[in-house]
Point group: C2
Chain length 329, copies 2
C-alpha cells in the first residue's frame, strides 16, 4: 500500500536494501515478490517474528544491533527445527527517529549478518509510522523432506539437553537497562548477548538428525520446555542445579543470597536463543561428539517421563510451581 513518504521508501529500497537482495530469487526487490524454485527432497520451513521499539528492544539500542537481533532470533527458530536458513523477507515500519543514518546502520547490520550466516534478503515492505518503530521478519530455511523437528515428538525415556548457556538473555536485558552491578567486561558480554544473540545455526543438522522434539529458548527455558511437554503429551523433569551458566552469569549468581531463586530467574527469563531438545538416551555419546566437533557446549538438563507438565527440582527436591517466575512476565 502507498506510504506517506514514498520517496524515502524508494531510496531506502534502492540504496540500502537492494544490495542485500538474493541475486536470483529476490528479483532485485523490483517486483514486489520473491520467486523460489521448488527443491525436491526438501521441505521449506518458514517462521515470522515481529518486534516493537520499547517492547522488544530499547529506544536507545543501535539500529544495526536491532536488525541483527531480529534476523538472529528468526534464524534461531529455524535452527531449532533442524532447518538450514537461506533467506528472509523484511517489513520495516520506520519511526521518526529512523532517519537516513539509522536506516544505513540497520542495513549495515543486516549485511554483516548475511555474510556471517549465509542468508539473503528476498523481499518485503518499508513504510513509516508515527509511533514506535516496528519490524517484522519472515525467515526461510530448507530441511530434508519430513525432517523438520517439532515440539511434539518427545517420548518417555528421552533425555533433555540444551546448547550453550542459560540466563544471559535476562541478565543482558538488566545490564542494558543499567540495573546490574558487575565488572565492565562481564557487563559488556551480557549486553552484547542481549543485543546480538548467536543462533545455534551450526547445530541445526544435529537437531535434524537426532532430536525427537526441540524449541529455541525464547520465552524462557521452563516455558519452552512446557511447550514441548504439552505438545508431546509427556512430563519433563528439569534439574535447576544443571543449568549451564556463562562466566558472567556465574559471577552474578555467586553474589546472590538465594541461589535457588537466582536459578529460577535465569530458567524463566527468556531471550537465550539456545536450542532445548529431547533425544533418546542411547544417543548421549553421539550428541556429545557432534557438539564437541562444533565447539558447542551441550548440557544434560533432565529427562522425559510419562505424565504431564514440567517439574523443576533443585538439590533433588521438586519445587512448587506457580511462582511469579514460572510464566514469563
Amino acid at each position: 500500500m502507498p506510504a506517506l513518504d514514498v520517496a524515502g521508501e524508494f531510496e531506502t529500497i534502492e540504496t540500502l536494501l537492494r544490495p542485500l537482495a538474493h541475486p536470483e530469487w529476490g528479483r532485485g526487490l523490483v517486483d514486489d515478490v520473491a520467486v523460489l524454485p521448488s527443491r525436491p527432497g526438501y521441505d521449506l520451513v518458514l517462521t515470522k517474528d515481529a518486534i516493537v521499539e520499547g517492547v522488544h528492544f530499547l529506544p536507545d539500542d543501535p539500529l544495526d544491533t536491532v536488525a541483527r537481533k531480529l534476523l538472529r532470533v528468526n534464524l534461531s527458530d529455524l535452527a531449532a527445527k533442524g532447518a538450514e536458513a537461506f533467506g528472509y523477507l523484511l517489513a520495516c515500519a520506520w519511526s521518526e527517529r529512523c532517519g537516513w543514518p539509522e536506516r544505513e546502520a540497520f542495513a549495515a547490520g543486516l549485511a554483516q549478518d548475511q555474510a556471517r550466516f549465509g542468508v539473503f534478503l528476498m523481499g518485503g515492505d518499508t513504510v513509516k509510522t508515527p509511533g514506535p518503530a516496528a519490524f517484522s521478519l519472515t525467515a526461510l530455511g530448507w530441511v530434508p523432506a519430513g525432517g523438520a523437528v517439532s515440539r511434539a515428538g518427545a517420548e518417555a525415556g528421552d533425555l533433555v539437553f540444551v546448547t550453550g548457556t542459560i540466563g544471559d538473555g535476562l541478565l543482558g536485558l538488566q545490564a542494558a537497562r543499567g540495573q546490574l552491578t558487575l565488572d565492565p567486561e562481564r557487563l559488556a558480554f551480557l549486553i552484547d548477548h542481549y543485543r546480538q544473540p548467536t543462533p545455534q545455526q551450526d547445530f541445526a543438522e544435529v537437531i535434524a538428525a537426532h532430536a525427537t522434539a526441540a524449541a529455541d529458548v525464547s520465552d524462557g527455558l521452563v516455558a519452552d520446555l512446557t511447550h514441548i511437554a504439552n505438545a508431546s503429551g509427556v512430563a519433563i523433569d528439569l534439574k535447576l542445579d544443571s543449568l549451564p551458566l556463562s562466566a558472567a552469569a556465574r559471577a552474578w549468581f555467586e553474589a546472590r543470597v538465594d541461589p535457588q531463586a537466582a536459578l529460577e530467574d535465569l530458567a524463566t527469563g527468556g531471550d537465550d536463543y539456545q536450542i532445548v531438545f529431547t533425544a533418546p538416551a542411547r544417543l548421549v555419546e553421539t550428541l556429545r561428539r557432534e557438539a564437541d566437533r562444533r565447539r558447542v557446549r551441550l548440557t544434560l538438563l533432565g529427562e522425559v517421563r510419562v505424565g504431564a507438565g514440567v517439574t523443576v527440582s533443585y538439590g533433588g527436591r521438586p519445587l512448587t510451581p506457580g511462582r511469579a517466575g514460572w510464566t514469563h512476565g
Copy 2:
C-alpha cells in the same frame, strides 16, 4: 521474542488464530514455524506488506475490514504475478484499542476471506505495541515453474490492459474520510472498495498464461505502469480517455469542472488492486474471451513502444509530466 502480555498473546493464538491454521502445514500454530512440502513443477511466490494505523488504514476502520484488506492487498500482489495463493503468515502488533472484541473481529474477517479466497494461516507472531496498531502479512502462492510474471517483460508492440475499474481506491479513501458528496449508495460502494478491495484472483491464470509484464495497481496506475516501463526498458503510452470507471466514479467524474484533472487524480490515486499488464497485440481477442468467461472487465489502455517512461495523453494530446499527481503523495 517474549511480549509484555504473554497471556493475551497465548489466548489470541489459541482461541482466535488456531481455527484459521492450515490443517497440516500450519502445524496448529504450536510450533513457531510452518513446514511446506516441496511441489515439483511449481515455484513458490512470496510477498510481504506492512500496514500501520493512521498511515494505511484509519483509526476508526473496523478491524475485520483492516484484516481483510491486509490479506487482499497481498493476494492482489500474487494474482498480478500469475500465482495461485494458498496461505499466509501474519504478524500483529496490537495497540491499546485492540481489546478482545477487536481481536475477535480481526480473526472473523480473516475467517471470511479464507473461505472466500481459499487460503489458510500458516504461522506468525502476535505482540503488543504502545503505539498505533501495525500488521504485516507474508502471502504464499504457487505458479507453474518459471511462469511468474515480472514487471520486466514488456516489449515494444505489446498492448496495455487493466482489469476492473480505476479510481475507486482514491475516491473510497475520500469517502471514508467524509470528504465526498455523492448519493449514499455510491458512497457506500466506494467506502467498501477502500476497506475491502477485491483482488483479481480468478484472473491470475490468464496473467500467467499470456502477460509479458504485470503489476497490481497499488501505488497508482501511472506509478505502477512506470515501474513496468522502467523494469522492461520500454516506453508506455497511456490514454487517460480510456480509464475504466465504476458507476460511482463516473457520477463523481461527471460533476467535475476539469475532466482532465479529474482523470489524472484517478490515474495516480492508487489502492485500486486491479492488475495492469502488457500482452502481445495478437492476443486481444483471447484476452477478451478469457475476461468475459470470468466476468472480469478488461480495458485496453494504451501500448508499449521503444523508448523510456510513461506518456499520458488526453484527447489525443500528450500531457506534461511532473504534476503533483504523477508520483503518489
